[in-house]
Amino acid sequence: MTSAETAGGPNGSGAAAVLAAAIGWFVLGVLALAGDTVPSVKRALTLWKPTGGLSGVTTVAIVAWLVVWLVLGRRWRDRDVKLGVVGASSAALLVGGLLLTFPPFMDFLQGK
């Protein structure tokens, strides 16, 4: 759905918010796997000892999400983007993020 989304205005800002969220989900998954696989990464991600690696995994993912949102939001603010592509990419990133945080799949990737 384009052409200024049937007179609702450019959809770029909304698309940026959706894609940035999806990138945030995926980064969370990648970091969760990295922290689980590499001890030095887990140590680096331990920003607050009582919460362990989770503190760094989520903080870095949130920062990545917000930075991507800021950049995409500025670039796409006045643009009308193809939401089908944004939706498909976001769905793929969601599946990837979910799988990378799902312990049996993490174990499978690590050959456990």
């Binding site: 918010a17 959706v18 799902f102």
Partner: protein
């Protein structure tokens, strides 16, 4: 009738923040679907638009409260390492991992819950922002409205996973301890 401080804070995390959040999803889904209805879709007036925007912002706020409280208040108690010879009942993670019949509640349940729960606040923040930015115009923006609904459903699914495992983990290895809060005193069976 008493409970510990950790019991009470776990209830605040799961039943107040998480429970209210789960209840709130239906309102968001109904509002978005009403705007999509064929024929005569809901056209929010300025006041309704403002109210829905506030509603989505509150949902996002509840999701943030739930995950932050869970990660930084409850989780440290859950994963605390016991001193040698300590009773594992006060150390939920180690207690679950001490038996082959319960260890998967930690290895799969908590390991997934602690990460997947964060999809909810991220998704709901994006939802709240999109509605605030576009408001009633979403009625004619089918593509964006569908993505908005997708975000809400993603957040709902993530909350369901986190809520289910949270409830089960607390059933098998409750996070307990701290001071005791006496809610009510009653008579024992012998005194009646």
């Amino acid at each position: 009738m008493e409970l510990t401080v950790r019991d009470a804070l776990t209830v605040l995390h799961g039943m107040v923040f998480g429970g209210l959040l789960l209840l709130g999803y239906s309102g968001a889904v109904v509002a978005i679907c009403a705007m999509s209805a064929a024929g005569d879709p809901w056209k929010p007036q300025a006041r309704g638009e403002k109210a829905l925007s506030l509603y989505l912002t509150l949902l996002a706020g509840l999701a943030w409260l739930a995950v932050l409280f869970g990660a930084y208040v409850i989780y440290p108690w859950y994963r605390a390492v016991p001193p040698t010879g300590a009773d594992l009942a006060g150390f939920p993670q180690r207690f679950l991992m001490s038996s082959p019949t319960t260890t998967e509640w930690h290895d799969i349940g908590m390991e997934w819950k602690e990460h997947v729960a964060w999809l909810a606040p991220i998704s709901l923040t994006a939802c709240a922002w999109i509605f605030r930015r576009y408001g009633g115009r979403l009625r004619v923006m089918k593509g964006l409205r569908n993505l908005l609904l997708g975000l809400v459903l993603t957040a709902f699914a993530a909350t369901c996973v986190a809520g289910f495992f949270g409830a089960m983990l607390n059933k098998f290895a409750p996070v307990r301890g701290g001071g005791e809060i006496v809610l009510m005193k009653g008579e024992t069976g012998d005194e009646r």
